[in-house]
Every structure is written in structure tokens, then in C-alpha cells.
Symmetry: C2
Subunit: 234 residues, 2 copies
DNA sequence: TTTGCAAAAATTGTCGACAAAATAACATCG
DNA sequence: CGATGTTATTTTGTCGACAATTTTTGCAAA
């Protein structure tokens, strides 16, 4: 079902998605149609279709006669996303404990072994852990065998997270500790202990969220006054 | 977000979304561009943009040189969605317990009172409970004050559910019981008991999911998926 | 210098036309 | 009669051009 003859709009959409996630198209950047069209060597028609698709995906925002811009992700929004991830990936871990195959568990162990080697090799930077972390979470999500869940998590929710990681050049929070937590989760999966797997996954993501929230300045745990001013005034 | 001058593509996108959810555009129906363009009285350009946006929203599926079709939702997928709803709305209930205002709790009570009157009045059919149920869940989600959560739940996830409800003409499962469960949830919110609110909400949705899954086992007379008649009004 | 308004430029929205591909129809052959 | 290759039609993909709107620019006045 791969694109046998990928259309121009599809190709451009994919390229732009990559450009946005990688930061080559900065957050809030205006998408100038004639310019981009010339740059990609295509007409404005397919480009507009690609932009509309990205709009549906939530990666760009479009106002009627003012053009489209790359969405901006505030740290607050990142924290919100981590809340959602906590709920969703916790569920994924629980489902995975029931659905995962023994072979997949073995593969997960091998993956974590590889991560351990990578961390030991590139001590300090641990950039590989970035993609490796994604890889781990990807596999858990896939193992849950819930198509809609996969679609939401991998299709929509992860883009902002990847954008943030790449663009902020944020190093992994204590990759050694993350690795240990990953191992515990896999152990729970191997034991078919869905409850424990969910708990550990939630704690794992909640830890990352709190680390993120710490950058916000204040603790965000109990929001006493929600401050309804979203300040998205236009 | 005041649509100062809604563009054609936006308007058509909205109309098509409505048509898909309401079932006027059946599941699996082919989106014939010249036909639809004539029907809407516009050119193919904006129509294609609208379709691309719907594609990003996950309401239509597009294959390179074969055209776009309305997505088909199997009962299995519905069950998957209810799993996701359970996790997400459970979280929403927990967050809402912390974030909701006293005034909002009062409004919720009033809403449920109205539902009770409606059920008593239109005993049996209880069609109002359909939208009312959505209304209740809407408010809980909003009360969680998590923008991303709202976006995912109300933006993407609910469309298939509404499609299913509308098209299958499914009556609410025991509206009286649903109402009671709703009341208990609001009570938990009023007590600021997030844990209990989450538990009750999860149980509430899990019940609906099980009722849904029961249909999966036993094939009943009403065929849930209508025959894909390619003919649309011209 | 700053403010306000008007013209100009650029950009977005929309359309019709042409090229490429897929589907349908049809005639031919086994 | 059915299968198959070819043609014809429909449908999708792409492009350039024109209209509508917004933003910028320029200029004059307070």
C-alpha cells in the first residue's frame, strides 16, 4: 500500500513535515506560497494541498486571508501533551502486556542492550538515546495492537515532542535512569503484568513531564486558578 | 477564532465533515471531484484542498491516482476508540476534579436535571439523551482545561463515535442508568475527588464499550454497515 | 517625529484548461 | 461462451492566469 506513484502534494507534504519537525521551518514561520513553490520547483496548487493536509494534521495553522504559519508549541502545551501521553502510553503498556509475543519481548531486551552499549560508548552526549527512546516507546505502542491508539500517538501527538527535542537540542534526562526504567517496564511485560507495566510507564512519563515543568519555573501540579486567558489573541 | 471571511475550502470542508458525520456521505463512498464540485457550485481547486484537510483529519482516505473515499469504521475500531476514550476521559475527569469551578458544577447539575426531565418526557426513545450524553462529556472534557486533550477528543476521536451513533440509529443504552452514572461523576467532581471521578468515568465508558463489543459477537438483524451505494444525489 | 491616509505591491483565493493515469467499454480471438 | 488486448471515456494531477484581499510603502499633515 506504499505510494505506488506518490503525487507531488504527498511528496511535498512529507518534506514539509520533515522540515517542520527538524526545525528547518521554524515555529511560527510564515509559509509563503510563491516562495515555497519556487523552492520546491512545483506549482502553487499541490503546495496548497500539502499545506491543507498539514493543517488537518495540526502542524500548521491557517487564517483565511493571511496565510499559513507553522504552529508554535509553548512549554505549557508540551506539559499538556505529556499528560496525555501518560494516560495513553500507560494504557498502551497495559494492553501490550496482554498482546505482546515472546519474540517481541526478546527483541525489546536486545534493543535495550543496544541502548546500553550506545550510552556507554558515547558517554555524556547520549544523543542516540533520543531516537532510541522514541524507538522504545514506538515499540510498546505498536505492541498494544490498538490501531487508533497508534494513529493518535504516533501520528499526531509525537510531532510536537520531536520538534521540541530536536529544536531545543535537549539532551536526554539522565539516559542511564531512563534505561533502567525501560528495563523494568519490559520485565513487567515479560511477566504479563499489565497493571505494573502501566504504573511504571505512567511514572516514567510523569518523571519526564515534571522535569519539563521544572523548566517552566513553577510547579504546575495543582493548578489552583486555571487562568483562562489563553492569550491567543489575534 | 472569528472566521472573518471564511474561504470556500473552509466552508466546503465544514459541510463535508457534517455530511460525513451525519451519514449523508456514506462510509466508503467515493468522492468524485467533478461531481462534488458541481454539486457545491465551486471549482475543483478549493474542493481538493478541503479533501486534503479532511484527509489530515482522518475522515477520508486518499490513494494516489484512485481518488478519495470516506473512511470505514468497523465495530472493532469503535471498540478501540472506546478504549482510548476510557483512558483519556478518565484523565479528563481526574483533572476536572481539580480545575472545575463551583459554578461549573452547578451548571452540570442543572444539565443533568434537564436530561432527567427529557428522559421522563420522551420516555422510551430518549433521542435527546444522545446529544445530551455528548454534551455532558463535552463539558467534563472542557473542564479539564487541557487544550491538547480537548483537541484530540473533540477534534478527532468523537467523529467516528458520532458517525456510528447517527448512522446506526443506535438508541442510548439505558439512558436512566447513564444518567445515574453521570450524577455520581458530578458528585465526585463536587467533592474534588479526582480518583473517584476517574474511576467512575472509566467504568461508565467501559460499560458502553462492553455493550458495543457484545454486538461484535452476535450478529444482529440491523446491518451496521450500509451497502456502499456509489450513487449520490445529482 | 509621529500619525493618518492613499496608492502600490505582494499574497492569497479561485478558476478553467491541459496532461497523465485509471477505469470502463468494446471488439477480437481462442 | 469466456478470456484478452485495445480503444475510449472518465477521473485525477498539475499548471498558469486572473480576481480579491491584505500588507507594505510612500507621502502629506499635525
Amino acid at each position: 500500500m506504499a505510494a505506488s506513484q506518490p503525487t507531488l502534494a504527498d511528496r511535498i507534504c512529507e518534506e514539509m513535515k520533515q522540515a517542520i519537525v527538524s526545525g528547518r521551518l521554524a515555529q511560527g514561520a510564515k509559509l509563503n506560497e510563491p516562495l515555497l513553490a519556487r523552492e520546491f520547483g512545483i506549482s502553487r496548487g499541490p503546495l496548497r494541498e500539502a499545506i491543507r493536509r498539514l493543517e488537518g494534521l495540526g502542524l500548521v495553522r491557517h487564517v483565511p486571508h493571511a496565510g499559513a504559519r507553522v504552529v508554535r508549541h509553548s512549554l505549557e502545551e508540551l506539559v499538556e501533551i505529556y499528560h496525555v501521553r501518560e494516560a495513553l502510553e500507560g494504557m498502551a503498556a497495559r494492553l501490550a502486556a496482554s498482546a505482546i509475543s515472546a519474540a517481541a519481548v526478546t527483541e525489546l531486551h536486545a534493543l535495550l542492550d543496544a541502548h546500553e552499549r550506545d550510552i556507554a560508548a558515547s558517554d555524556g552526549q547520549a544523543y542516540v538515546q533520543q531516537e532510541g527512546d522514541f524507538d522504545f516507546h514506538y515499540r510498546i505502542i505498536q505492541a498494544a495492537r490498538n490501531h487508533k491508539l497508534t494513529q493518535m500517538l504516533l501520528g499526531d501527538l509525537y510531532h510536537p515532542v520531536r520538534m521540541y527535542r530536536v529544536q531545543a537540542s535537549q539532551r536526554a534526562h539522565r539516559p542511564q535512569r531512563a534505561l533502567t526504567e525501560h528495563r523494568r517496564i519490559v520485565d513487567a511485560l515479560a511477566d504479563r503484568d499489565g497493571e505494573l507495566a502501566e504504573l511504571l510507564m505512567r511514572r516514567h512519563i510523569a518523571g519526564a513531564r515534571k522535569s519539563l515543568a521544572a523548566q517552566l519555573g513553577g510547579d504546575e501540579a495543582p493548578s489552583p486558578i486555571p487562568a483562562p486567558s489563553t492569550s491567543t489573541r489575534s
